[in-house]
């Protein structure tokens, strides 16, 4: 046998001259008490300099772990990169020592994370954190680094960079923090930037800003990017090519146009189908992907997607498909594409055409008038009030029986507070709330309790909205018991019935919440809300914390329940496409005021308020062919503080159509016909006449939705 020691492996010849990164059969497993969790199970891809790769998947797909593995940031006791190669610029990163790896991190490869508040060190100023990286990797002096840091902060669009240099992370808004993180990441001019869900935690309009910024910087710095996200719209806007991941494997690869015009894998079809699209005709009934994302410790046999795949057949259960090569560089891991198969796979477009006929009688159930909520800010030992947070500042609206009112807005607009006020979970500062004709503010004790039975709430976070120490059965039984709707055995019966109604196995009634997935927990929350037969439910962002494929399931469930039980909803959300699917009427809030209120079809086909237009335009579209062509309204700046709202029209500081009266006079919510209300001077005939705008329509930057005829 050959006695010479093995030579250090040579890097493979790159497939293209500009190749920067090549990952070969990467596997990252987590080991715990004899069970192996295959978080990343053999992925391979390649990335050129300056190219942007999107990695899309849901929970359990392994997308985040794959990003962390590139930088070898996996916690070593439970996790380990068991095999594979990561060729970066000629070196195998997995063979480097820790010291050599530290040279790479932050310097050649940088990473930004989802939640900047936890990724930035709270006890150092952001300036110091950037300086740290510069001094470490680029060998600058403190003074030089400071200069460079301020330049970077300006480059990422932070106003007053010299001032902000001295700010602590908690003093900045979410968008600013993310910009600061980007500045830190870019400080050493890395060749590759890994971004793990960087915009998921941000508001719609801020997300649009950050995405624009990242695209710009990527171009200017000629940086390669790996963009990890669950949001196909973002992928479409930013990425050149895409890996779709499921259960730790790549199930489809291709360029972005290929993925969206000719998607191949049934999972990709499911992802594309299951959510409502804002520029297609309105569908009330969504097409979800059945089942849940897989448990990585107990993967199904054969193809890991087969339990949820409408096209699965015996071979799919028996054996795992390899990655098949398709023309033009697309690859797909699915037996439908086995070369020996005679027929080409046909994608069944199963759109449920069932339109839930719901005649909404215009009988008001909930009437809100002049609702105001101030939160006092106190200082000092004696708790003197120094200012107020004006969360809700005089809003009026009505919810009719059987109707869904969609309430949209960004963080700080007061929509969540409104939901709480209506149920008297918070005490209003002023205003009236009439439920079924009865003024809620005057109720006390037992009377209030009996009204509580009729008005319920479903919370956003399926993790914290269920008591972890109670069984599911007792959680659902609680409203029944509190309102004495049944006794003893009958309570159990009801609980079983309700569990079935929301799509859960009734045998699970004595399990604990943590044994369920997010989507299932949300079903439990819904079950609790309907347990006492309410008339009205406030849904506070009920699907925002769920996986994309589960959202559609829950939305369909909510619609079914509304139809069967005659419920009325307030649906609070910031996702305009979801709101479009479920609402009969839509209201937009900004800094505690309602700025626009209209029927669904009217709202989406004819948005009037400039803020509404900006929100609709900020929604990322899936249409990479027109990527550059669409004009988006990107609002400048952040949402102002509710402690000191702007004078006159609250939106005037960011409004592209601002004119004379806007900073002096506050616009009222006026009915401009066909039950469409707007609070904007542009539509006030008095002011419009003054400005010489009488009779002229506001210049539209883009038709944001399809024509009304197809609605």
């Amino acid at each position: 046998m050959d006695a010479t020691p093995p030579r250090r492996d040579q890097p493979p010849t790159p497939s293209t001259p500009g190749e920067l990164l090549r990952v070969e059969d990467l596997r990252t497993y987590f080991f715990h008490r004899g069970i192996t969790v295959r978080a990343v199970d053999g992925i391979s891809y390649q990335l050129d300099r300056g190219e942007v790769l999107g990695v899309v998947g849901e929970s359990g797909s392994g997308k985040s772990v794959s990003g962390l593995s590139l930088l070898r940031l996996i916690d070593s006791p439970p996790g380990r990169i068991v095999s594979g190669r990561i060729w970066f610029d000629g070196q195998d990163l997995l063979r480097l020592s820790e010291a050599e790896m530290r040279e790479i991190r932050g310097n050649e490869i940088a990473m930004i994370f989802q939640e900047p508040l936890t990724s930035l060190n709270p006890v150092f100023t952001i300036g110091d954190q950037i300086v740290e990286a510069l001094v470490l990797h680029r060998g600058m002096t403190k003074a030089q680094a400071r200069e460079e840091a301020i330049t970077l902060l300006a480059r990422v669009g932070i106003p007053n960079p010299a001032e902000r240099f001295k700010a602590y992370p908690h003093q900045l808004s979410g968008g600013m923090r993310q910009r600061a993180m980007i500045a830190m990441a870019l400080s050493c001019r890395p060749k590759l930037l890994i971004a793990d869900e960087p915009t998921t935690a941000l508001d719609v309009s801020i997300q649009a800003q950050i995405l624009e910024l990242m695209k710009e910087l990527q171009r200017d710095f000629q940086m390669a990017m790996i963009f990890i996200t669950h949001d196909l719209g973002v992928i479409s806007e930013v990425c050149d090519k895409v890996n779709v991941m499921y259960a730790g494997r790549i199930v489809e690869q291709g360029t972005t146009p290929q993925l969206f015009t000719r998607p191949r894998h049934p999972y990709t079809w499911g992802l594309l189908d299951c959510l409502p699209k804002i520029d297609e005709p309105r569908r009330q009934r969504l097409t979800p992907i059945v089942g849940q994302p897989p448990n990585l410790a107990r993967l199904p046999s054969g193809c890991t997607f087969h339990p949820r795949c409408p096209y699965a057949w015996d071979q799919c259960r028996a054996a795992e498909p390899p990655l098949f090569q398709l023309p033009e560089g697309q690859t797909v891991r699915c037996w439908l594409y086995e070369p020996s198969r005679a027929e080409a796979p046909v994608r069944l477009v199963t759109r449920e055409e069932l339109q839930l006929q719901r005649t909404v009688e215009r009988r008001p159930l909930l009437e809100v008038d002049g609702l105001v909520k101030h939160f006092p800010i106190t200082r000092g030992i004696l708790q003197r009030k120094v200012a107020d947070v004006v969360a809700v500042d005089g809003i009026d609206f009505t919810v009719n029986r059987g109707e869904t009112l969609g309430l949209v807005g960004e963080s700080g607009c007061g929509k969540t507070t409104t939901g709480r006020l209506v149920l008297r979970l918070l005490e209003p500062t002023a205003g009236s709330i009439r439920f079924d004709g009865v003024e809620l503010r005057t109720l006390r004790g037992d009377q209030l309790r009996s009204f509580r039975r009729r008005m319920q709430i479903v919370f956003q976070d399926p993790f914290s909205s269920l008591n972890p120490r109670r069984t599911v059965g007792s959680i659902i039984a609680q409203p029944i018991e509190v309102h004495r709707l049944a006794q003893g055995r009958e309570v159990e019966e009801r609980v079983r019935h309700i569990l079935e109604r929301v799509g859960l196995n009734p045998a699970y009634a004595n399990r604990y919440p943590h044994e369920f997935s997010g989507g299932q927990r949300q079903r439990i929350g819904i079950a609790r809300a309907i347990a006492a037969n309410p008339d009205f439910i406030v849904l506070d962002e009920p699907v925002s914390a769920l996986d994309v494929s589960i959202q559609a399931q829950i939305i369909n469930l909510l619609q079914d329940l509304q139809h069967d039980l005659g419920l009325s909803y307030i649906f609070i959300a910031h996702d305009l496409s979801v709101v479009r699917a479920v609402s009969d009427r839509v209201a937009v809030m900004y800094l505690g005021k309602i700025v626009e209120l209209a029927d669904n079809v009217e709202f989406y086909s004819n948005p009037l308020h400039p803020y509404t237009k900006a929100l609709l335009s900020a929604v990322p579209r899936i249409d990479p062919t027109r990527r550059g062509a669409r004009q988006r309204i990107i609002l400048q700046g952040d949402v102002p503080s509710p402690i000191n709202p702007p004078s006159g029209c609250r939106f005037h500081t960011r409004c592209p159509y601002r004119f004379t009266p806007c900073d002096k006079v506050e616009p009222r919510l006026r009915d401009i016909g066909s039950r469409h209300f707007v609070a904007c001077h542009l539509y006030d005939p008095e002011f419009a006449k003054q400005a010489g705008l009488a009779g002229k329509a506001i210049p539209a930057t883009e038709a944001v939705v399809g024509s009304p005829g197809r609605g």
């Binding site: 987590f30 715990h32 004899g34 969790v37 359990g60 439970p78 989802q114 998921t200 935690a201 508001d203 719609v204 669950h230 949001d231 719209g233 969206f260 998607p263 594309l272 959510l275 699209k277 804002i278 297609e280 849940q292 448990n295 990585l296 410790a297 477009v349 149920l423 309790r449 009996s450 509580r452 319920q456 919370f459 976070d461 399926p462 993790f463 909205s465 008591n467 972890p468 120490r469 609680q478 409203p479 509190v482 604990y512 943590h514 044994e515 997935s517 929350g525 609790r528 962002e541 925002s544 914390a545 996986d547 994309v548 910031h574 496409s577 929604v619 990322p620 579209r621 899936i622 249409d623």
Partner: protein
């Protein structure tokens, strides 16, 4: 047929990562209740488990003391302790005797009853009072909170030992009265802890959900939230017991606690003081002192083990 273009827009304000089960939950074959998970984590700490076994044995010994102790702890044997000289440890008396011939092993065994009783009673009292007051203060806030916390502050201002001594001069010092007195001195620490927990817990959404359902405040505090605060309370209790035992020992040592002839580890130490100096009767102080040290140590290890097992980082909520 348009099967490609779609707009998906999902900025989330909340950053809850959907459905990522912890490694433990993924690994377990049959998902378990929160209590079982805690138990599983506890038994991983060998020191804590060993200490728990020791304490269990001690508890059994204390319970069965009248049957286990070889001699009557108060039986004087002047043959054994001639001229007031304590007898050294021998086969008949493994721990020796005191100056009037009472068997020390029996006295140590009976003393464990006193120490454990006072430890548990005092802590029990402190926990109950402290939890109720702390929960109410934390949940209801505002003036109730202020009132309760100011009372706690007042109590905290008393030097504990002096307070106890003052109280026990007036009242007859039995195990019960001593326990209550120690409880009165200790409830504030528990109350502060529990108040802190409840300040957090009341913001939890399931508490809000209970309010939305119409559950009255007291039921929310004691049925919804309290089970979730048990972790720190249990740890605090486990660590308070040794403190109470030490306090009792100190009081007995100073002469304010359990009065002789009833045996308590503390007053045995006090008795031992003189004889250690004059007769070199090391066994009189060594054994009671050793028992105090071992017991206190054992409780501390168990408390540490519990704290790790109930670690909020891996707690469900």
């Amino acid at each position: 047929m348009t099967d490609h273009d779609a707009a998906l827009e999902r900025p989330q304000r909340v950053t809850a990562v959907p459905t990522t089960l912890t490694l433990e939950e993924l690994a377990s074959e049959r998902p378990e209740s929160p209590w079982r998970l805690t138990w599983r984590r506890f038994v991983r700490h060998r020191l804590a488990v060993a200490s728990a076994v020791f304490l269990l044995a001690l508890f059994v010994v204390a319970l069965l003391a009248p049957w286990i102790a070889p001699y009557d702890p108060n039986a004087i044997d002047l043959q054994l302790a001639q001229f007031g000289r304590p007898a050294a440890p021998s086969l008949a008396h493994p721990m020796g005797s005191d100056q009037v011939g009472r068997d020390l092993l029996s006295r140590v065994i009976h003393g464990s009853r006193v120490s454990l009783a006072v430890g548990f009673l005092a802590t029990g009292f402190a926990i109950v009072v402290g939890t109720v007051l702390g929960a109410v203060a934390g949940y209801l806030g505002r003036w109730v909170d202020m009132l309760i916390m100011r009372v706690a502050d007042m109590m905290l201002a008393f030097p504990p030992l002096l307070f106890l001594m003052a109280v026990l001069v007036g009242v007859r010092p039995t195990a019960l009265t001593i326990s209550i007195a120690i409880g009165v001195i200790n409830w504030m620490y528990v109350a502060r802890l529990v108040r802190g927990e409840f300040l957090t817990l009341r913001t939890r959404e399931y508490a809000e959900a209970a309010r939305a359902i119409g559950v009255p405040a007291w039921a929310i505090i004691f049925r919804e939230l309290l089970p979730n605060a048990m972790g720190p309370i249990i740890v605090s209790a486990t660590l308070s017991i040794p403190a109470a035992i030490l306090t009792e020992s100190t009081l007995s040592f100073l002469g304010f606690g359990i009065q002789p002839p009833t045996a308590s580890w503390g007053n045995m130490l006090q008795n031992a003081f003189t004889y250690l100096r004059d007769y070199r009767a090391w066994w009189m102080g060594f054994y009671p002192g050793l028992m105090i040290a071992l017991t206190v140590l054992a409780f501390n290890f168990v408390g540490d083990g519990l704290r790790d097992a109930l670690d909020p980082r891996s707690r469900i909520d």
